[in-house]
């Protein structure tokens, strides 16, 4: 009886469209529940990773291993991803993903910008 009633209701196009929209809106909302669940599941791993990074003193993500200066972006020589000059075309594909320094000298003159308190 219920199936027949549901079938007759869904015979109308607007009902079918709204049912479809509700279903995909449900899936959309499920992504939030899934995100919360995944966060819980992956949190211990993320914590362990952060602790390992602290113990070993790791400074960079292992995303670009093609060259030493793309592997350790934060430790590389000045402009090393753009060795010829800042903004030069890079040999490696990841060079297109890493920006040149905004102000090339910004990094170097830390001593001249810093006030010594004592």
């Amino acid at each position: 009886m219920t199936a027949v009633r549901l079938g007759s209701r869904l015979a109308r196009r607007s009902h079918r469209a709204l049912a479809f929209l509700t279903a995909i809106a449900g899936l959309f909302l499920l992504t939030f529940a899934d995100a919360a669940w995944l966060r819980n599941c992956r949190a211990p791993g993320a914590r362990a990773q952060a602790e390992l990074a602290k113990r070993l003193g790791l400074t960079d993500l292992c995303l670009f291993t093609e060259a030493r200066y793309t592997r350790h972006l934060s430790q590389a020589d000045w402009h090393s991803a753009f060795q010829d000059h800042p903004g030069a075309l890079e040999h490696f594909p990841s060079g297109s993903l890493v920006p040149p320094p905004a102000i090339p000298l910004h990094h170097a003159n830390l001593d001249r910008k810093t006030k010594i308190s004592d």
């Binding site: 109308r12 992504t31 995100a35 602790e51 003193g57 400074t59 993500l61 292992c62 592997r71 920006p99």
Partner: protein, 383 residues
């Protein structure tokens, strides 16, 4: 209220029938629209999650790292430098770090080789190594397996794999090889007492800039890297990457915008005739606009919901497989990592606003022009 709802339902019925009459065009539009939302949402979710992951993982990085520069190049730290820095007020701990790179000619990959601080839980005995998951996978290493590496003296050195670094830490350790300090020094021919760089722990993080100034004064040939600079590097990389990908995608977005605008605003003669007939049989201008509003809403909402859900699954359930070739570049080693989902309400609202609203609005404006015109001239096509 019931009447109003019934009226909207009839309008939706009519809208769907109208869309079904131009099935191929509308299904094509919906697929394209969904694909655009999927790509934009994937980039947004991926960069956002990576940015958070970098910030969380590197929050424990050393407060200050001191490198020595010789002729603009990174050089080894001489033995007396650690003592010089240890005497600075505000420095709690000074530790020389030993790390470098090893190129494996068989795998054609660069490993990061490191000597962990001795005595800690990550310490490895002489003759043993701990390797990252990706290195182990590529060479087929298991625990207690033997690995031969060619030392800088040319001699082949055999190590036993004491342990594999955890899978959860792959984003940081995929290419890592840990060996004891003694092995590290003999393998690379490192002079005794010298280090790659120095990691400092400061007493008061607020004073880190002052401390950096003091270090630069005391050791003028040094380069000081603060943790905040490391974090800023990654923040700017992901912002830049997001920008680059969005720029590359902008061509597709513009193509879609032209297609959608043409579809939404340039009414076909069939559509114009349809509006003329509707007006002639008694539909009000408001009803015609509402019908078109429903059309815009149904298409854009469907595309947004499907596109976003698919992007979520792609990034967090299928490890952003489509982005792997982009990130991998020419790297031989690439981590197999799972990101922790972080959904930012503001970014989601921005995506919704810029994908759903323009299309819904673009459908209404031209239809209003047609709907307020005399039905006869609309049907004759003189609009």
């Amino acid at each position: 209220m019931r009447i109003w709802i019934e009226k909207q339902k009839y309008l939706i019925d009519f809208t769907i029938s109208s869309l079904a009459r131009r099935k191929v065009k509308n299904v094509g539009l919906l697929c394209l629209y969904t694909l655009i939302v999927f790509l934009l949402a994937s980039v947004m979710l991926f960069t956002q999650a990576l940015r958070r992951e970098a910030a969380a993982s590197l929050a424990g990085a050393p407060d200050v790292i001191v490198q020595r520069m010789v002729a603009g190049r990174h050089d080894l730290i001489p033995p007396d430098y650690i003592g010089k820095l240890g005497g600075l007020r505000g420095v709690r701990k000074t530790e020389g770090r030993l790390w470098g790179y090893y190129y494996d000619p068989f795998l054609r990959a660069n490993y990061t080789v490191m000597a962990p601080p001795s005595g800690g839980e990550d310490g490895v005995s002489t003759g043993q190594v701990a390797v990252g998951q990706e290195v182990a996978r590529r060479i087929g290493l298991t625990r207690n397996a033997k690995i031969a590496l060619t030392a800088y003296s040319g001699e082949t050195v055999w190590f036993t794999v004491a342990k594999l670094l955890t899978r959860e830490s792959e984003l940081l350790t995929a290419d890592l090889v840990l060996m004891s300090e003694e092995d590290f020094r003999s393998f690379f021919g490192y002079p005794a007492g010298q280090y790659t760089d120095i990691a400092l722990t400061v007493t008061n993080p607020q004073e880190v800039h002052n401390l950096a100034g003091k270090i630069a004064n005391r050791l003028p040939d040094s380069r000081v890297i603060l943790r905040e600079e490391i974090l800023r590097t990654y923040e700017s990389i992901f912002n830049w990457r997001e920008g680059v990908v969005l720029m590359l995608l902008s061509g597709a977005v513009i193509a879609f915008a032209i297609f959608a605008l043409e579809k939404a605003s340039g009414l076909s003669s069939d559509e114009k005739r349809e509006i003329g007939i509707l007006k002639a049989i008694g539909w009000e201008t408001g009803d015609v606009i509402k019908m078109k509003f429903w059309e815009g809403c149904l298409i854009s909402l469907t595309a947004f919901l499907l596109g976003y859900t698919a992007a979520y699954l792609h990034v967090f359930r299928f490890a952003a497989a489509l982005f792997e070739p982009v990130l991998k570049g020419w790297s031989t080693l690439y981590p197999d990592f799972e990101l922790v989902p972080t959904l930012d309400g503001f970014e989601l609202a921005t995506l919704f606003f810029f994908t759903v609203f323009p299309y819904a609005l673009a459908t209404i404006v031209p239809i209003w022009r047609a709907a307020v015109t005399d039905p006869d001239s609309v049907m004759r096509g003189s609009l």
